[in-house]
Symmetry: C2
DNA sequence: TCATTTCGTAAGCCATGGCTTACGTATAGC
DNA sequence: GCTATACGTAAGCCATGGCTTACGAAATGA
């Protein structure tokens, strides 16, 4: 569940497209594959990677499998960049103080 | 400068390690390569990708090249996840209201 | 001018991974 | 039990890309 996996998961364009489709709300594999330039198994494989990375969750609904955004995983990525942002500002501040001296 | 390139840039573990090293402040290529398990040219190639993605900036200092975090690029990624976060909450809220009806 | 330092680039190797087709599996309906 | 639906998985193909070594280029110092 480390953020490393999340980066690699979101790196592939097609996989990121699948992920972004879920932003509108939960959907089945077939619904997600519809209109995409790749096959349904390809979408299924991408969903597995996203799920293993903790970015999406899966629930059964009859013969369908409904995938949805995992908000916990999303929050982890948001926090990662927030920390990065804070650190970058601190480093910048230190460099200014050092050049002032 | 789209965020697509930034994801792919941060996907490779070694390249992300280079990027995270810059969090402590600007550094030369040689300094960044020191202590890393890959060669200096490898680090140089990674820096080129990061620069093309708008994640780092480069300045000349004598015979050295100093790389630093590009805060604008970082901000773009932070905003991306902030928007995503907001959208995900909205979608979740809508799904609750729908199930209430 | 010549040597040294620091770095980018070219060429090539090889593992990774994204995609396809084919097939197996579980649920729902009759 | 049989069929259809919706999906995951296996096998295999092939482009992508990360790494190495070798080399070239630009700035510094003597």
């Amino acid at each position: 569940m480390a953020y490393e996996m999340k980066f690699e998961a979101l790196a592939a364009p097609t996989r990121r497209a699948v992920y972004e489709k879920l932003r509108a709300g939960p959907a089945s594999v077939g619904a997600l594959a519809e209109g995409m330039p790749v096959s349904r198994p390809a979408v299924s494989q991408h969903l597995k990677v996203l799920k293993d990375a903790g970015l999406v969750s899966e629930t059964r609904q009859g013969v369908k499998r409904i995938y949805a955004l995992d908000r916990g995983g999303l929050e982890e990525l948001r926090d990662y960049f927030d920390r990065f942002w804070t650190d970058a500002l601190d480093a910048y501040q230190r460099s200014l103080e050092k050049s002032d001296a």
